[in-house]
Amino acid sequence: MKRSQLGELEELVLLTVGSLYEEAYAVAILNVIKEQTGRNIDVTAIHSVLRRLEKKGFITSSMGGATQERGGRRKKLFVLSQAGRRALDESMEVRMALYNKMPKLAFARIAS
């Protein structure tokens, strides 16, 4: 099977799901991203990213945790799956590997 690629927002959401552990649902994710990056993302965008990630098998969901302000509706809680974890690891590795190469190259450019 062709490996699914992670988009930028997808990766961000996936990371947030991982970091929130068992408390990850759309609004919480939204708030964390806003705190961490200052980016103002639409909740609908988060929803569609979550749906996509679930379809790719990177996260799994369960229902639970109704609250008053939700009008007694349950949340959809997301957990990072094995595949999701692996995808994050791989993407981090690639980034780090490239990042570590960078200073040398950059200096070489400047020197010439």
Binding site: Y25, A26, V27, L30, D42, V43, T44, H47, S48, R51, M63, A66, T67, E69, R70, G71, R73, R74, K75, K76
Partner: protein, 889 residues
């Protein structure tokens, strides 16, 4: 109570949302809403809630189970799926149908845009419904009618003062002046316009004084591209631009720049000055003259006014101004809507060229015909297919399919095909556009506008439904029992199918024959012996002395200047037969003069002013008498030569030594008569012509004149050098030596002759293109049909061969039915072609006969093409080993 999000948005969300997603999504939105309310921003919370509900309305969220899974949608989807599979399975036939339709659509789009462009002239003006052009028709007798769409200058003031219904009157003239200074002097057509002109027409001013651009009589406005031509990247506003008007070179100050005038505008100018300069341009007397026409006049009537009430008031105004000079009904003023100008050939041409409406309509009809051929082609192909698919229909019916659902099924197929065909057609049209423009000389641009989308969708629906409905009905009508028993279907449908094949042939043969006739006619007029020799003849327009204020002195001064150039050119061996004349072959509108003769008849004739060598340059043959003698001073002063038509027209017997029948003329004597050589395009018959070296005695006797072509002399010579480009170098060098600072123009007479038939040539090429396309479509159709017929008779053929039929017999068997249809098509198309093409030929004074040969040739072409289309498969079927075809059942 706690604030709640808007109810309607909540309900909308519940309605469309997939129930699996609803609880979480709705909960999230409510939570965010509560959060925002808590921070005290109720309005923005509500707004954001609605925004999110709308944003969530996307395919992945919508409840597909209940909203999309109803029968109609499901069946439609299924229909298209099946349709796609059917089409994919039979790639050969699909390709044929698709190609045929796509070619038809391409042709339709290209022609359609050409036609649309012709029809959309002047439509861009927002006030187009209120703008009218004024015409003037003076009627003094049956032969004495002067009809013009150019008008006296005084109209502007008269119409403005006398009619409350009129908001503004503006005038527009275009005059050739030398513009620029030093070596950058060019001959330009300078517009002379009323200062309010830009309030009437939608020509946006983009730079400078955009409110009152021609406030001062020394202002000039330029189009964007002309501002660049003269000033490059510099800011043109406030710069001086010299224009030579008469003797005087006047400095005009550029006050504004306007956007280039669109192609589809009848009123066009690249630079313009105010008509406050009229007195300098036309002279004092013209300002109040009622019988001197020059500028076009446009009126803008008030919003709720009616042009009829202006028209009704015209006679009274005319009579109050011209009481003593005209009788009622003699001096008529009328109004023509702006949008009518481009395609109305009944009103004389003014400053703007007029298109030929017949051509536009013919092309519109042809483009529709080609599209219809393509549609019919698809229909016949798919009816043919129905033979193969009767089992499918039977099984569907047994399974309980209703007739309507079967019709829907087959319509889906045709819609799908037409959808792809339109896509391919649009792509092809864009790809082929440059070739199309190049080939036809048309100047079409396919700019995409949103409404085109609607057009294309309409085209898809129209083609899909119109060409699919009949096969769908035929297929769905089949009887279950007879299909499943394997009985042959009734033969009635073959008549319709054959009828359509015949129809297609009618159109194709019609197009082929029309093309042949057009080509023959064009060939005829371009190679007809005109009685003159204009091969490799070059024409160079001369300039009059700016100081010359009368036409006769302007002509003679230009001739004098021409003599200077002539002496220089004489030293070149490759240049011979240098002459000069006021008009040259290849341009229409030679000076037309009129007077009333001794017996009170109104007479018109054309005048050609020449030097003694002109006749020689063009090899004009003298029938009787003699030609001009260069040595004779008397010839220079008073000798004239007539053409045979003039002799007949004036009714002069033994013309040599006589005079023209009129008292007003100065001393002159007829010394020779020429053949009736053609001097205008062959749309017109030869008119009476007087040739002279001295215009003065002739001018003395005439009462009216008209110049469609400038009568300022041109230098003509024959060039015998090996390379035509060299003549340019010679001319440029000698011109610069003789007339520094003036612009050199020259042209080959042959090219001008060809240009006279440019619109006919374009038309012929457009028709040729459509013919080729429709031939391709028809051949594709035939190819599809023959394959089908062969497939359904493959066993029959096998058995026939076993019994002893030769290949030739088989070929005859298969080809004969098509041959009959083709012959019928040919027979039907002959009268249609004859009738339509006679109409076209009537435009020409000199025309070919539509001989039987054209139809024989056209039919042969159609026959040969048809047999090429069916030949390969037919021969293959006739050659096939019967063992292969009848071994298995």
């Amino acid at each position: 109570m706690k604030p709640q999000p808007p109810k309607w948005a909540d309900r909308f969300l519940e309605w469309y949302c997939n129930p699996d997603l609803l609880e979480d999504l709705q909960g999230d939105l409510h939570e965010i809403f509560a959060e925002k309310i808590a921070t005290g921003k109720a309005r923005s919370a509500r707004f954001y809630f609605v925004w999110c509900v709308l944003r969530s309305f996307r395919f992945s969220v919508i409840n597909r189970d209940s909203k999309l899974k109803n029968t109609t949608l499901m069946m439609t989807k299924n229909n298209f799926k099946i349709a796609f599979r059917v089409l994919w399975n039979d790639k050969f036939n699909t390709l044929l149908s698709l190609a045929g339709l796509a070619i038809g659509i391409t042709c339709f789009i290209l022609m359609g845009f050409y036609v649309k462009q012709e029809l959309s002239y002047d439509q861009f003006n927002t006030k187009k419904d209120r703008i009218y052009r004024v015409w003037l028709k003076e009627v003094y007798g049956p032969d004495q009618i002067f009809f013009n769409s150019v008008t006296p200058i005084i109209f502007e003031k008269t119409l403005e003062d006398n009619f409350g219904e009129i908001e503004t009157v503006v005038q527009f003239d275009k005059i050739n002046y030398l513009v620029g200074q030093g070596n950058d002097r060019y001959n330009e057509n300078v517009g002379v316009i009323s200062p309010e002109f830009f309030n009437v027409f939608d020509f946006p001013l983009i730079k400078g004084n955009t409110e009152t651009p021609l406030q001062d009589r020394n202002n000039i406005v330029l189009s964007e591209s002309y501002a660049q031509k003269y000033f490059g990247l510099r800011d043109p506003i406030g710069q001086a631009l010299p224009v030579q008007i008469g003797e005087e070179v006047r400095e005009f100050i550029v006050s504004a720049v306007y956007a280039d005038i669109p192609k589809e505008s009848s009123v066009r100018f690249d630079m313009a000055i105010s008509n406050e300069n009229n007195k300098d341009i036309y002279g004092e007397r013209a300002m109040t003259a009622w019988f001197n026409v020059s500028p076009e006049t446009y009126v803008l009537i008030k919003d709720n006014a009616n042009i009829n009430s202006v028209e009704a008031g015209i006679p009274a105004v005319v009579m109050s101004n011209l009481k003593e000079r005209v009788n009622p009904g003699e001096y008529n003023i009328g109004f023509q809507p702006l949008t009518d100008i481009h395609l109305n050939t009944e009103i004389p041409v003014g400053k703007a060229p007029v298109g030929n409406p017949t051509y536009v309509y013919i092309l519109a009809i042809i483009s529709v015909l080609v599209l219809v051929t393509a549609g019919v082609n698809y229909t016949t192909l798919s009816i043919g297919q129905s033979l193969k698919r009767s089992k499918e229909v039977g099984v569907r019916k047994v399974m309980g399919a209703m007739r309507t659902s079967l019709v829907n099924q087959y319509l889906s197929e045709s819609l799908l095909i037409s959808f792809f065909a339109v896509l391919v057609g649009i792509a092809l049209a864009h790809v082929a556009l440059p070739i199309f423009n190049d080939l036809t000389g048309a100047d079409v641009s396919l700019s995409f506008e949103p409404w085109h989308m609607l057009l294309y969708i309409g085209l898809i629906l129209l083609i899909g439904l119109a060409s699919g409905i009949y096969p769908a009905l035929v297929l769905s009508r089949l009887r279950v029992i007879s299909i499943l028993q394997g009985k042959r279907q009734s033969n009635s449908k073959h008549y319709i199918r054959k009828g359509m094949v015949v129809f297609q042939f009618v159109i194709t043969v019609f197009l082929i024959c029309s093309t042949l006739i057009m080509r023959k006619q064009l060939n005829y007029i371009q190679t007809k012996d005109l009685g003159i020799n204009y091969n490799t003849t070059v024409s160079v327009p001369l300039y009059p002395d700016p100081a010359a204020n009368r036409l006769s002195t302007a002509i003679s001064s230009a001739m004098e200047k021409g003599n200077l150039l002539k002496e220089k050119l004489n030293q070149y061996g490759s240049i011979s037969d240098i002459g000069m004349g006021s008009h040259v072959f290849g341009t229409d509108g030679w000076a037309s003069l009129a007077y009333t003769d001794d017996e009170g008849n109104f007479r018109r004739f054309r005048l050609l002013d020449v030097d003694p060598y002109y006749m020689n340059t063009f090899n004009i043959k003298i029938k009787s008498g003699r030609s001009f003698d260069p040595e004779s001073g008397l010839d220079k002063r008073q000798s004239i030569i007539l053409n045979q038509e003039a002799v007949d027209y004036f009714g002069i017997k033994d013309p040599i030594g006589k005079r023209l029948p009129g008292k007003g003329f100065g001393d002159h004597v007829i010394i020779g008569v020429t053949d009736n050589f053609n001097y205008s395009s062959l749309h017109n018959a030869v008119e009476p012509l007087v040739i002279t070296q001295n215009v003065v005695p002739i001018f003395q006797g005439i009462s009216d004149n008209g110049f469609g072509d400038s009568p300022i002399p041109k230098l003509v010579f024959r060039y015998s050098g090996a390379q035509l480009t060299q003549v340019k170098n010679i001319l440029e060098k000698e011109w610069k030596n003789t007339f520094p600072g003036e612009e050199l123009n020259f042209s080959f007479v042959e090219d001008n002759m060809k240009a006279q038939y440019a619109s006919e040539n374009r038309m012929s090429k457009l028709v040729t293109v459509s013919t080729i396309l429709s031939i391709i479509i028809a051949s594709l159709g035939l190819l599809g049909l023959i394959v089908l017929v062969i497939n359904s008779r493959i066993k029959e053929i096998g058995i026939r061969k076993v019994v002893g039929a030769s290949g030739l017999t088989i070929f005859r068997l298969l080809a004969s039915s098509f041959a009959m249809q083709l012959l019928l098509g040919i027979l039907l198309s002959i009268p249609i072609t004859y009738w339509l093409m006679s109409g076209w030929l009537n435009d020409f004074a000199y025309r070919i006969d539509i001989g039987i040969d054209t139809f024989v040739l056209g039919s042969l072409i159609a026959l040969v093409l048809a047999f090429i289309a069916i030949g390969y498969h037919t021969v293959k079927a006739a050659m096939v080993n019967p063992v292969d075809s009848i071994r298995t059942e």
